[in-house]
Symmetry: C2
Subunit: 280 residues, 2 copies
């Protein structure tokens, strides 16, 4: 069955209220469309934990800088809708930019803590854009649970912090990154890769795996990170960051032996920006 397509916040609110009236729980999967198996895994997690599943599709201009790929970002609502129908999703909330940011819109939500540094340094407006739109989506749908991929690990921590700080009535569930057979993390942006770049791209995850295996027992983790960066450079990647952070607070590492740690990387292959991360 085709999911119902919802365009406005009041319509969304009405549908969710009808579900709630029947005592049904609601799971939300926020996406920017161009759905792949990573999104499918989020939908499946949502289905397993919710009576009704609502997917949102909104390519959020506020989280792109002027020099980034907002215009080029892949969009194919019809194909997305077909995938969601096969997955048994109940509704797709696909608002226009005007619905989310009406004339005169001028409100920004900044989450400190986990939005500082790493991705936040290379994309300075990114997390405020994410926090603002996610808050608006969660306020509109008030789901019991919302599902985010660990692929965007720092974003997951930012959203968790947002929800905790504003006491939004939604549980944020992080889901493992889905990968190609060769290890490349699924991403809508992989479509930008040339054939030659696509062949090289899995080296990013191979490096994360190798490095994460030895950082805990290394006497010189900083040197190891620098060496891995240079090695990536020699393989044709232009590295933006390769950094370890506390996996819960996103603070810089104080204790390499005992903290929960996450290793994160962003690198360009040609014009395509790839990100990935792994538990240490």
């Amino acid at each position: 069955m085709q999911p119902e397509t919802i365009r406005s916040v009041p319509e969304l609110r009405r549908d969710v209220a009808a579900w709630r009236g029947k005592g049904l729980s609601v799971g939300m999967v926020p996406t920017m469309g161009a759905l792949h198996r990573g999104h499918e895994a989020l939908v499946q997690a949502a289905k397993a934990q919710s009576d009704r599943v609502l997917v949102t599709l909104f390519v959020n201009p506020a989280q792109f800088a002027p020099n980034e790929d907002f215009a080029a970002y892949p969009r194919d609502e019809e194909a997305d809708l077909e995938k969601l129908a096969k997955l048994g999703v109940d509704a797709l909330f696909a608002p226009s930019v005007e619905e989310m940011y009406p004339r005169g819109f001028d409100t920004t939500i900044s989450v400190g803590g986990p939005s500082q540094g790493v991705e936040g340094e290379f994309r300075p407006h990114f997390f405020a854009g994410v926090a603002t739109v996610v808050a608006k989506l969660l306020i509109a749908g008030l789901p019991d649970r919302a599902f985010f991929g660990e692929k965007d690990f720092q974003q997951l921590l930012v959203v968790k912090k947002l929800v905790r700080d504003l006491a939004l009535p939604t549980e944020i569930v992080g889901c493992p990154t889905v990968r190609e057979m060769d290890g490349l993390a699924l991403s809508s942006r992989n479509a930008y890769l040339s054939k030659e770049e696509r062949a090289r791209a899995p080296k990013l995850y191979a490096m994360l795996r190798a490095l994460s295996g030895r950082l805990r027992r290394s006497a010189t983790p900083g040197v190891d990170l620098d060496e891995a960066k240079r090695a990536l450079g020699r393989t044709g990647f232009s590295v933006e960051y390769l950094e370890a952070r506390n996996a819960e607070t996103f603070a810089t590492v104080a204790d390499w032996k005992n903290e929960p740690l996450r290793l994160l990387v962003a690198a360009r292959l040609g014009k395509t920006r790839l990100i990935d991360n792994i538990a240490i």
Copy 2:
């Protein structure tokens, strides 16, 4: 009957959910306590338009600058509770600072537009502090309507903008300023005035009335404002601003004849900061 006193967001959510389950509408009156007849008028408006009335009491540290009167701000929860009991309020949400801003809290909501200039210039962190705490209160209680006094006129526009931008499911209702017989706007801060200052304070509103009566037909409104400022100065007020703004968008005035306009003033009498405003 004594209103129930609620200290935590989950408790608040549970109570409101129980009301909603019975099909009852909910009105919220956010306050910083030290309740006076101005707050009583808000509660009465809330009662007239809601099945259940929830008053919140929270002296919000985030909207005070370090040099302001956070510590000195009058607090008397017992007296407030007694007043609310007489008014037939159903519940008082009076959280601790730790409940609203738990350890590590680090999220700020900035509303552009109406938070720019006037009060926002003299209290630079004020409206972000207000917007953040009001968003959190509205998210926690999800009332049908929330009631704010026109005494804080710019704040009322900021809250309306916040609700519109984030699509919070609450209607914001502005209520007229309540005044003493001699015209002084009720304010918890009036308690700071010496007897001599209290006798002089009504001149602020007298000036607003006189000035608002002639600004529309004045050929030189800017000159009139400057003269009124000087006159207040001679009466012992230290004026921070005396300004007219569009009463809906809070933009600076483009057309003195035809726009909806509001005249706003902030002035100190001794150590006490008084604000007031009037329709033009």
